[in-house]
Symmetry: C2
């Protein structure tokens, strides 16, 4: 029951030799989701051993090149690798028109179904779900329509205490009923309530992805209490005028938002190429919100069932 984020790129518009454009891969119970797809995403996937065919759905935050230029090559590569399974792309308008125009010029016909779900970036709404997870859009404030995404694992099903199953000799039908939250009647006629017989093996985990955006209080209310918040931190606070002008945030602003929203962990990224060293961004954020992680290409963040965060790298 994995819940894991892999960072493929942590650069803003201008990449550096060690920082690729934005793309994260979210693994929820071995279902893989790509969030943003900057140029070179398919290389980073190859480099980090992530099979493009495993991607269930792609979520695009906005139509700026550093978040979407990798999609053309990735979709073609999936075709060359023999993809037949449908692929869903969730993105703000006019993503579909843009992609159709591109396919038309390049004469591309994908051999697998593409389901494009265009969303209104100004609204917070459920934009995707399956039995494992729901995804909610998070309106952001940028120079073009832009929205983040909040990924919430569904609550895991109830388990029945093993000592009760064995002690009372519960049969499979009784166990199934208890798991559904229904009370059972024991062989001796006594009731056994679901409340006393069951427990939730772990609490659902959550990940919010917020890039690109100026610092926005509204975001805090939507991502309140999430386990891990990725928030862009393009600039140091000393350069906040630049951040304001370009529709971005500073590390301090990201940290203030994390604090205000009461999230458990903050992950930074989308750094301006002007900063050769990133530690000052981390230091700035940690002054406000200590549980901050400096995102880097190849970093892997695992939310354990107990909601602790394990950090590794590829």
């Amino acid at each position: 029951m994995t819940f894991q984020v892999t960072i493929l790129g942590c650069s803003s518009a201008r990449p550096t030799p060690s920082r690729h454009h934005t793309a994260h891969v979210l693994n929820v119970h071995e279902q893989f989701f790509l969030i943003d797809c900057g140029e070179g995403t398919q290389y980073q996937m190859a480099r980090y051993g992530i099979n493009p065919l495993k991607i269930n759905a792609i979520f695009i935050t906005h139509l700026h090149g550093d978040h979407v230029y990798g999609i053309f090559g990735l979709l073609s590569t999936m075709a060359m690798m023999g993809r037949q399974r449908a692929l869903t792309i969730v993105a703000p308008r006019p993503f579909a028109l843009m992609l159709e125009g591109h396919f038309s010029f390049f004469g591309i016909e994908l051999p697998y179904p593409l389901e494009i779900r265009e969303i209104d970036a100004r609204l917070s709404a459920e934009v995707w779900s399956n039995r494992t997870m729901t995804v909610t859009s998070v309106p952001l404030r940028h120079r073009v329509p832009c929205c983040g995404y909040l990924f919430r694992e569904r609550e895991p099903g109830l388990n029945v205490y093993r000592h009760l199953v064995e002690g009372y000799g519960l049969d499979p039908l009784q166990v199934a009923a208890l798991k559904r939250g229904e009370d059972a009647v024991l062989a001796n006629g006594m009731p056994l309530t679901a409340a006393e017989a069951t427990y939730r093996p772990y609490e659902a985990r959550s990940y919010a992805f917020c890039s690109d955006t100026t610092a926005s209080g509204k975001v805090a209310s939507i991502v309140r209490g999430v386990d891990l918040l990725y928030h862009e931190a393009t600039y140091l606070h000393a350069d906040r005028a630049l951040a304001e002008k370009t529709g971005h945030s500073t590390a301090l602003q990201a940290a203030r938002l994390a604090k205000k929203a009461g999230v458990h962990h903050l992950l930074l990224g989308h750094y301006s190429a002007r900063y050769k060293e990133l530690e000052p961004l981390l230091t700035e954020a940690q002054g406000e919100f200590p549980d901050t992680v400096l995102g880097r290409d190849g970093l892997v963040l695992t939310l354990e069932k107990d909601h602790s965060l394990k950090i590794g790298s590829i």
Copy 2:
């Protein structure tokens, strides 16, 4: 008076962790030219220390993603880096329409002039020139309109033998006239012909770039005798049916063409991802044409003034 090729990517359509999409940088007398621009070209330039602002012109062979998907990000990055100098792009039709459509969707306005020179890929003609170099298109046979490019350094100017300048006490006007190929009259009234007084410091060098294409005899006649021929070698000859089907060449076919055209050196590239090891492609080509070099990302090939080839890597 450098004449040097740097390989940014040697992969065909599907990249691998160590092989990026097609892009070469040609340095002729410290003027830099980009040939093809696959996805990730700007990363490779950053990685290998090639400043995008130094690029004088870009030559695109055809509108397949693995040769052109990097252009969108590269043009934007040049803008962010403050480019003001005009940039020329030479490419087959309908490149301009494709780029305009893209700019329109992404709301891009470049702060520097872009001169797009669309060419008819079916013709061999001079498509670009300046005082240092001429570029001729090389019609190729692929699934879409496609042409290679032949880069020829202009003949360097004549030098006057130093011992004659000193021995006869030639003045600057006389030296200049001799350099223009005009005869001079010495102080004693005797003639000094340009033929006896001058020499060419070195012979002009040439580089032909041919990708993507099925083996084509016509190419041989155009690239005859070039110093360095880059020719795609997507497949091993055992897979020649695949090569034929997809409009590509085998290593053996590339070598045969190099031999037929009497080139001095052959450079291979554009390898299918199916080949983990590339040495079999080299062995196959060298059996036919010994002076073959296996292109790889980061390889730097320098044509010296004596036309010898020096091979290094970044």
